[in-house]
């Protein structure tokens, strides 16, 4: 079975201070599933995900990353890397006037233009047909996040990293995105999702990872991680309650 394997991934700032941002992390994760990543601000979520993407973010990264037997490092060519892993943040602006249609149809820098059936499938799944003729920068932040997510589904990397990508999405669309993620999982795509919306993570994730101050606190099934014990460690003194949703049977948090 194909796996995402991380061995002793360690990250420091790229400058001369070499401040440690992430202590060594080792994980094994099955491809075709959703991994939720949760932690307070500054706990190292983005650092971990950026390092995992192999992109050049001015970080000093050591350790090994294997995605489906493909080693990810900063020296791997960008085109080879982008078909394996793509990192998506949350803030998208084009300095130029670019329509949604152009963005979705232009494909990537390394392969042929994506097929029309693949594009229209994603457009339909995410219900973004009405955005197509619009200029990207005239959409709201949340709509733009949705369009960029669509862009990445069309590119179809093995692993899609979503770092707070849905931070400005409304409830309806958030649920839709969750369903679409599950559908694309069945086609073999893997999602790593960082979010501050614990209830959303619990809804979509197969496993969850908790980070605290650059340290891996726990990684396991959602019901093993989303407990008063672990959440108490993340937010000591904050009154939190974990309940099970009568509808979906998933764990939810009340505060």
């Amino acid at each position: 079975m194909s796996q995402l394997i991380v061995r002793k991934l360690e990250v420091s700032t790229g400058d001369e201070n070499l401040r440690r941002l992430l202590n060594p992390v080792s994980i094994d994760f099955s491809m075709g599933e959703v991994l939720g990543i949760y932690g307070p601000n500054g706990s190292g979520k983005s650092t971990f995900l950026r390092a995992l993407s192999g992109g050049n973010y001015g970080l000093k990264v050591s350790g090994e990353i294997w995605i489906d037997q493909f080693a990810i490092t900063q020296s791997v060519r960008a085109d080879a890397r982008a078909s394996v892993v793509v990192y998506l943040g949350s803030d998208f602006h084009s300095p130029f006037s670019l329509t949604v249609r152009d963005l979705l149809e232009m494909g990537n820098g390394f392969s042929a233009t994506p097929s029309h059936s693949r594009i229209s499938e994603v457009i339909e799944a995410l219900k973004i047909n009405e955005f197509m003729p619009r200029v990207l920068n005239t959409l709201s932040d949340g709509e733009r996040q949705l369009v960029m997510f669509a862009r990445c589904l069309i590119q179809f990397p093995k692993v899609l990293i979503l770092d707070e990508t849905f931070s400005k999405l409304d409830l309806d669309r958030l649920m839709l995105v969750g369903r679409v993620m599950r559908q694309w999982c069945e086609r073999g795509m893997t999602f790593l999702v960082a979010s501050h919306d614990l209830n959303f993570l619990s809804e979509v994730s197969d496993q969850m990872m908790l980070l605290k101050k650059g340290e891996l606190l726990a990684m396991a099934q959602v019901h093993e991680v989303m407990t008063p014990h672990f959440l108490g460690e993340l937010y000591p003194g904050v009154p939190l309650q974990v309940v099970r949703s009568p509808e979906s049977g998933k764990l939810k948090i009340l505060y």
Binding site: S94, F96, G109
Partner: protein, 319 residues
């Protein structure tokens, strides 16, 4: 290609032909036509074609790769760097025997671009600070150029005007043809890579996500643009704002920023606009001649101000 696009191409090509005819035949002394055409007007037309297309493509590619809609060889100081390099280079005899290519100009352009990329961290390239720095670099180079010209050449003060305002009349047939060839060659290289440049349209943070190496592409682009701008500046001096205005006009005209059509359209558009400006500069001042750089700047500088003020709005795409 859709019908609408075909119409747009037809329109631009017609504009190009009309400009070319104007440049060849406007105020032509028909008693001596064949000599004037052969010796003066055709070389001049070729030069304007080569330089106009090259500057426009340079502007487009700089705007794309730096994610800065105000970037162009002139506003970033690359043109002044090339002029300074060319002046120093020709005094030192760095001029290559063929077609007036001046190594100094290319070196000057590369130096300025490297300095700018050093001074601006990745994030600040799309901001105004890059343009401000570019203008300061430009002023520094222009002052050094004036000092160098006056010190090295007794009649240097006149040549300074040539470098600072541009003059298409000194270029011969061979050099004009070389400029056209170089411009077409570099443009085709960019055009064959249009997918890569499309990946820059969402800003530098996402370039690698689209499978394009940011550093490698930027480096190659910078070198090619420096070559092209160096070549133009060493042949005709500095001609500003063509590289700024043409890509903006073409983006509006096409209604798209994708490079498959942006590159050929900017190439043709840049050529026609410089040919037209040169014909105007030539005809209006008769019998004297206005420096063509002064004509493009006269139109270009107010357009820059307009773009600068309305940029926020145009960036969010409200037409």
């Amino acid at each position: 290609m859709s019908r609408e696009l075909k119409k747009k191409y037809a329109l631009v090509i017609t504009a190009l032909i009309i400009s070319a005819l104007l440049s060849l035949f406007l105020r032509l002394d028909f008693s001596n036509a064949s000599l004037i055409l052969k010796e003066l007007r055709v070389p001049r037309l070729l030069t304007a074609f080569g330089v106009g297309s090259a500057l426009s493509i340079a502007g487009l590619m700089l705007q794309t790769t730096l994610a800065n809609p105000l970037a162009e060889p002139y506003t970033l100081g690359i043109a002044s760097g090339a002029a300074l390099g060319a002046a120093i280079g020709s005094s030192l005899g760095l001029k290559l025997p063929f077609m007036g290519l001046n190594f100094g100009a290319v070196l000057g352009a590369v130096m300025v671009l490297l300095i700018l990329l050093r001074l601006t961290a990745q994030g600040s390239r799309k901001s105004d600070s890059m343009i401000l720095l570019g203008i300061m670099v430009s002023l520094t180079c222009a002052s050094l150029l004036s000092i160098w010209m006056v010190l090295s050449d007794p009649v240097g003060v006149q040549s300074v005007t040539f470098w600072l305002l541009g003059d298409l009349s000194r270029v011969g047939l061979g050099a004009g043809a070389t400029l056209c060839f170089a411009s077409a060659l570099v443009t085709s290289w960019f055009w064959f890579q249009y997918r890569k440049y499309d990946a820059f349209l969402m800003g530098e943070g996402l370039v690698e996500s689209f499978g394009v190496s940011y550093q490698t592409t930027l480096r190659i682009t910078v070198v090619l643009i420096s070559l092209l701008v160096g070549l133009c500046v060493s042949a005709v001096g500095m001609i500003g704002f063509v590289g700024l205005i043409v890509p903006h006009l073409v983006r509006r005209f096409l209604g798209s920023s994708r490079h498959f059509h942006m590159i050929p359209m900017s190439f043709l558009g840049g050529a026609s606009i410089l040919i037209l400006s040169d014909a105007m500069a030539h005809a209006v001042g008769e019998p004297r001649e206005l420096p063509v750089g002064a004509v493009t700047a006269l139109v270009g500088a107010p357009a820059f101000i307009y773009l600068f003020i309305h940029r926020k709005r145009s960036e969010v795409g409200v037409e």
